[in-house]
């Protein structure tokens, strides 16, 4: 791993062995683990053997092994034909899957204790704040991050919660590390919006659905107007420069500017930690070079930059909409502005599954066990299977919880879907490869395939069964959890 120094690696290994010691003390817990421990170096290379290896990249492999070198998967296949290199630490499990991907979470922002000082998932000072970045709020040290990890969740698309018309951004983050800079995969995966009464303001604005849409449309029109104006100005400036240079070829080159014009990426290199080391292929935000600026670079506006990224389809707009009418509104909005829409929540999405399919829109579905009330009163355990039947691509999320339980666990939520009409593979896809595809991160995560990140979850049986345990978790080739959960 380029992103992780040896020091960091050794810290992790030390931590893992401490965990292992604790686990051994808890005798019954240790007995449940089927991990053979043979650390040979601080840069432990890992192989995971499983009786059933769900790669999510083709059929499951019986008696399979996946080999991870320097954080990446280098080989995968049956034990019989796949040689484990000398000195690798070998983990064994009944079942192994890709590390689970939680497509929409507030973990790390809405902390365990639920006190004023650890609740950073929603700023209520204004209805439209797309500039609020997830990476500035996410706390990788919150105990719930480690809790999710212990079930096999290795990546979360965490960020601002629903509750304002545009509440901010989300980021895709691995559930490891001491700083978000070290663990972020994609610093800006989406801008998030909320339709319906959950984002209205009593006695204020927006106070109604119609007002919400009017505000959202006006905001997008304003930004689009500025973008168009900016392109015209740039074109004119370029023409002038060309004319001038033709008139006087010896003129100085145009003035440099470090300031991103409105047309550049909102998650430019200056604001995104370089440590993210995200392969360009999986970055949804175009990282094109900053164009030579005009004589008068515009003032930067974080809010407009974020919405500009949505309008340029550099990032999707995740719209939380639970009522069918709000889902319709979201589809209408996406069509009007030609933006990439991802529906979030979707309690009544089964009612409009065909329209969602026709619009080519993905759904990040509410947790299966979300309480049926208010905007979500008509939710169903069977929504996932109804979306599947309609051919809609979806992921199942942990979502936001205001009280108890403070976070949900996508493994447990997908299990309920698997018991209510989804096949095992479909349910697992909703928290692995399909979640990764929806987040445009499938070049790195979501399945076990050569070249992808070595993120693997180990179980002692059917991962969805209530009484099965997660017995180990590997992230970027490092064993990060051996808690028997």
């Amino acid at each position: 791993m380029k992103m992780r120094s040896n020091n960091v690696c050794s810290r992790w290994v030390a931590r893992v062995s401490r965990v292992a010691q604790v686990a051994r003390v808890v005798g019954t817990a240790a007995a449940l683990m089927s991990l053979s421990i043979s650390i040979t170096s601080t840069n432990a290379q890992v192989a995971v053997k499983a009786k059933t290896l769900h790669t999510m990249d083709g059929a499951a492999i019986a008696d399979g092994v996946v080999i991870v070198t320097d954080g990446k998967i280098v080989a995968i296949g049956p034990w019989a034909t796949t040689k484990i290199p000398e000195g690798y630490r070998v983990l064994e499990a009944v079942v192994a899957t890709p590390g689970l991907v939680d497509a929409r979470a507030t973990v790390g922002l809405s902390g365990l204790y639920n006190q004023r000082q650890d609740q950073d998932q929603l700023d209520r000072s204004g209805p439209i704040q797309p500039e609020l970045r997830a990476i500035d709020a996410y706390n990788p040290m919150d105990a719930l991050v480690a809790y999710l990890r212990s079930f096999g969740v290795t990546a979360v698309n965490a960020g601002q919660a629903p509750g304002e018309l545009v509440s901010g951004q989300t980021a895709l983050i691995k559930t490891v590390g001491d700083s978000v800079d070290a663990s972020v995969v994609i610093p800006m995966t989406a801008v998030v919006a909320t339709l319906g009464p959950n984002s209205t303001r009593a006695g204020g604005s927006p106070g109604t659905r119609a007002k919400q849409m009017a505000m959202l449309r006006q905001e997008l029109l304003n930004v689009r107007g500025e973008m168009e104006k900016r392109s015209r100005e740039e074109a004119e400036a370029a023409k002038k420069a060309k004319d001038a240079s033709e008139a006087a070829p010896a003129e100085a080159k145009p003035a440099d500017s470090q300031v991103a014009p409105a047309s550049s990426t909102p998650t430019d290199a200056a604001t995104v930690p370089p440590i993210a080391s995200t392969p360009a292929a999986s970055v949804p935000v175009a990282t094109k070079a900053i164009e030579p600026a005009t004589a008068t670079p515009p003032d930067r506006d974080l809010r407009k930059e974020a919405l500009g990224a949505v309008l340029r389809k550099q990032v999707p707009l995740i719209v939380t909409a639970n009522r069918a009418q709000d889902i319709s509104s979201a589809l209408r909005l996406a069509k009007e502005f030609d933006i990439t829409l991802i529906l979030d929540g979707g309690a009544e999405s089964y009612m409009l599954a065909d329209q969602i399919k026709a619009a080519g829109v993905d759904v990040i579905l509410h947790p299966s066990m979300q309480r049926a009330s208010g905007e979500s009163e008509n939710l169903s355990f069977e929504t996932a299977s109804l979306l599947r039947k309609a051919g809609v691509r979806f992921a199942i999320q942990s979502g936001f919880e205001a009280y108890v339980p403070k976070t949900r666990v996508v493994l447990l939520e997908a299990a309920i879907a698997a018991a209510n009409g989804l096949s095992f593979d479909e349910a697992l896809a909703s928290i692995t490869i399909d979640a990764a595809r929806i987040l445009k991160a499938d070049a790195r995560i979501g399945s076990l395939a050569i070249g992808k990140d070595g993120d693997i979850a180990l179980y002692d049986g059917d991962p969805f069964e209530y009484t099965t345990h997660c017995v180990g978790v590997v992230v970027d080739g490092v064993v990060v959890s051996e808690v028997v959960r």
Binding site: G163, Q370, V404, E465
Partner: protein, 509 residues
């Protein structure tokens, strides 16, 4: 034969189930179908779900054969028989070892599992709102006066296989009132008109109930509520001391024939009367308590006043199992998907059930609905097993131990002759995620049938299942912080919003 869908009728003649003549079967099936269809008031072409036997006629016996039986009171029977008559269990046993009476309606449940109906010691279903904000202890408030028996939550309760429940007020008070021990019956296959239809009555015909108390953080507040834990305990002690004095006056006024001497009897005081019933051991205190020190405070007060208590939630009981075992007090635990959400639940752990069990503590479980959904109550037992509790202990926790904690173990909680015919039919093992509750029976009457479209709606969800009822989270009445603001009073819209639902106070605490 549309009438036969589901738990089909194989025989209703007068012979043993394993000794069936084909001819008789044909006749018998027709007879049974006719009986059942017409018994349901269906005329020409009955719908499948209306045709299955929902109850035997008075004096008639119903026999369930061919399935696995989990009686709770004894070992599981791979091939068992359950015999029911007049709302009571007549017999439970192995196939072939138990006589099937003549004239019985025989139901084949091959491939399915029959288990005792679940007992939930702590539920908030029914749109309940008991004590108000006027004082921290309101023992005079009866939850029965606030229950909406038509609340759709009762349909979810039945879909989850719960046949007995303790409907409780919230934890926003040191004492928030009287609870109600209830059965989610459906008289005539419909939601009850009156809350009385839910009652479980004692020998005097009076509804049975306990008392809800709470300590820790939920019951704290501005005066007259307590601001600290020490103040909480002081308020409770003062009130119980007053109750003792009141009890002394009552005892003094009591005449040899049991009536009161009007000259001596104090003016009736509804609040103190309730506390006296606690002091007399007539009422069990159901005590919300999470943190280890809070649990120990409950034990301290119990020792001082001698009341009977069940410890509810007990997030940190795993830290002090021996103290709880030594006190001989039982626990009703909750298993939620993650710890936290409030300080006192920050160390909640699924392993609590197993640790308490190994320490010798009687352990039950509860939904705290909506905290966990009544439809997923079986899941609680499975998660406890996942974290180290025995299967037997976990299934008892959902049934017999819970019944003990409601003083109902002689009537419900296991499949034993003489007990109420409260049972569930499952599609598979009770601890598997893939298992569904197929049918729920209360007192010999089927009150939930997954193959019935209307029942299924509440089991699965969908348009109309929610009926727009406000979520009531028992412990959230004092709000929670997010976005730098304190939100909510009792209600939250769950995962749908980060701003809670400040308009739906549900429990009204």
């Amino acid at each position: 034969m549309r009438c036969e869908k589901g738990a089909k009728i194989v025989y209703c003649g007068g012979m043993r189930s394993n000794d069936v003549l084909r001819v008789v079967v044909m006749v018998a099936v027709v007879a049974a179908v006719t009986l059942v269809c017409f018994g349901q008031g269906v005329t020409a072409t009955p719908k499948a779900d209306e045709a299955k036997p929902t109850r035997p006629n008075a004096g008639q016996t119903m026999v369930f054969v061919g399935g696995r039986v989990i009686p709770i009171a004894g070992p599981e029977l791979a091939d068992g028989v359950l015999i029911v008559r007049d709302g009571k269990i007549v017999a439970v046993g192995k196939t072939g070892e138990i006589a099937v009476p003549d004239g019985a309606v025989v139901v084949d449940v091959a491939g399915k599992t029959i288990m005792a109906g679940l007992v939930d010691t702590h539920s908030h279903v029914g749109g309940v709102a008991s004590a108000d904000r006027s004082s921290p202890m309101q023992p005079e408030c009866r939850i029965m006066d606030s229950i909406n028996p038509k609340d759709s939550g009762f349909r979810r309760v039945l879909a989850g296989g719960i046949t007995t429940m303790n409907i409780m007020p919230g934890s926003g008070h040191l004492l928030s009132g009287q609870t109600l021990y209830a059965k989610p019956r459906r008289p005539g296959g419909k939601a009850p008109e009156r809350v009385d239809d839910l009652f479980i009555v004692d020998k005097q015909g009076e509804p049975m109930w306990g008392v809800k108390m709470a300590n820790g953080t939920n019951s704290l507040g501005d005066p007259p509520f307590s601001g600290t834990r020490a103040k909480s305990a002081a308020i409770v002690r003062e009130r119980f001391i007053k109750a003792r004095e009141y009890k002394a006056k009552l005892d003094d006024a009591k005449l040899p024939d049991g009536t009161m001497d009007p000259a001596k009897a104090p003016t009736r005081d509804l609040a103190l009367e309730t506390l006296v019933e606690i002091l007399e051991g007539k009422r069990i205190v159901h005590h919300h308590t999470h943190r280890a020190d809070d649990i120990l405070t409950v034990l301290r007060l119990r020792e001082e006043f001698g009341f009977r208590v069940v410890l509810h939630h007990t997030s940190e009981a795993w830290k002090i199992p021996d103290a709880i075992a030594k006190a001989g007090v039982s626990c009703s635990i909750i298993l939620v998907d993650s710890p936290g959400g409030k300080l006192e639940a920050a160390e909640l752990n699924w392993k609590t059930g197993g640790i308490l069990e190994r320490a010798g503590v009687r352990v039950s479980m509860h939904t705290d609905d909506w905290i966990t959904d009544s439809r997923l109550f079986l899941r609680s037992a499975a998660l406890a097993v996942r974290a180290g509790m025995t299967r037997e202990g976990a299934l008892k926790a959902l049934t017999l131990v819970a019944a003990e904690q409601l003083d109902l173990a002689d009537r419900v909680g296991s499949l034993e002759a003489g007990k109420d015919a409260d049972f569930i039919i499952l599609s598979g093992d009770p601890l598997s995620v893939y298992t569904h509750v197929l049918e729920t029976w209360i007192e010999g009457v089927r009150v939930f049938d997954r193959s019935n479209a209307d029942d299924r709606l509440f089991a699965v969800g969908g348009p109309g299942a929610g009926k727009d009822q406000a979520i009531y989270l028992c412990c959230a009445q004092d709000g929670f912080w997010f976005g730098g603001k304190q939100w909510g009073s009792g209600g939250t819209s769950g995962g749908g919003s980060a701003q809670g639902s400040n308009s739906s106070s549900g429990g009204g605490q």
